[in-house]
Symmetry: C2
Subunit: 224 residues, 2 copies
């Protein structure tokens, strides 16, 4: 199910896990310091993964290095760059709270790039111990293995001011949860479109109603 | 007009400017690299400033170090922590594009914390030369010296989907611009409230209209 290069990377990382300790240093003039904040850490781990994979001789390619500013994937994998790999990170002392993807762009991109549905997700759970960054756990997943329904929506999403922003992760690592992950790809896709339908058709407030109106108008324009 | 500690910091930084070269290093396990991206750089320079100021014996205090998660100021200055100092950064190869403040919070906070209007702004214009970070220019300003009107609004703001997000900077360093900075504090405050009034009272689309409705309803609730 996962790409064989993703599996190889995942297995080697798991083996190396206990040596994956490090951190960020910042210097300007004569003042240097160890960075303790989490700002930008996700991007650094993501970039680090590409460099680590190269040093391991794995067929992992960063599209940004060839000047491509596309938003997905984070990496191509395989000698023909046929696989898609996304890197996600979160502070393991709290629940996974990363954005899986922008809801609207994901819905739109699936029609143009259906292969996106089969992207691998390599997830790093880190801990900051003072200035030390420690990788505590790593997962290799498909999107339907890290998403779930929520109370209000067929798919767990992040909503602000009546607008759906991002697809958000399930608690995929526990059996004892109210909303377990989807059983398969089809269940995820169905939840995605049911959420989209509900969002576009069933406004609950005047504010939302008009946003839905503008969204559906824009989608129609794009489809023409 | 500026706090004397801000002035001292500014003058020393200007003198040191040509030695203010550095960068970010990230390491995890055996793979270390120089970070070339701009992600998180603003936060790093902001934190660096506090450490540099301490090393210079200047009365500059980071409220976050005492566990305060308030969003402003970035620093207190003066032995009684009586002055407010904000640190802003931007890539000098493009126009200044930082967020001065969230529009809505700034409007609200001025009534509770009118002293915020007199915050000093220390602005770092940097350049990334490969992996090298270089501070090319530094400014010490008041908010009315880095803001201006725009075509549509009395105050230049960032708007997305009919919602005003942030107060955005003028091109304060050139005389030959369409919208020069405000002549004084009063002109800025007047533009801020004129923008707020226009935003709440004169919707231009159905979508905006409803957002304005919800904003004004929320403001009323908060004022009760």
């Amino acid at each position: 199910m996962y790409h064989c290069v993703s599996i190889k990377a995942y297995q080697r990382l798991l083996k190396e896990r206990f040596s994956l300790i490090g951190g960020t240093k910042f210097r300007l003039g004569s003042v240097e310091f160890d960075v303790s904040g989490k700002d930008g850490l996700g991007g650094l781990i993501e970039e680090w993964f590409g460099r680590w994979a190269s040093s391991e001789g794995l067929a992992v390619y960063n599209p940004k290095l060839s000047g491509n500013s596309q938003t997905f994937p984070d990496y191509f994998v395989g000698s023909n760059r046929e696989g898609l790999l996304e890197v996600k990170t979160f502070d393991i002392t709290a629940s996974a709270n990363f954005d899986i993807a922008n809801f609207q762009s994901y819905c739109e991109s699936l029609s143009k790039n259906p292969e996106r549905l089969d992207s691998d997700y390599l997830i790093f759970g880190y801990r900051l111990n003072g200035y030390d960054l420690i990788i505590e756990n790593i997962w290799l997943k498909k999107i339907w293995e890290i998403t779930c329904p929520s109370g209000k929506w067929p798919l767990k999403i992040q909503m602000k001011r009546g607008i759906i922003y991002n697809i958000r992760p399930a608690t995929w690592d526990s059996h004892n949860v109210q909303y377990p992950v989807f059983p398969n790809k089809e269940a995820f896709v169905s939840a995605l479109y049911e959420t989209q339908k509900l969002y576009l058709k069933q406004p609950t407030t005047l504010e939302e109603q008009n946003y839905y109106y503008s969204v559906s108008r824009n989608s129609t324009e794009r489809e023409d």
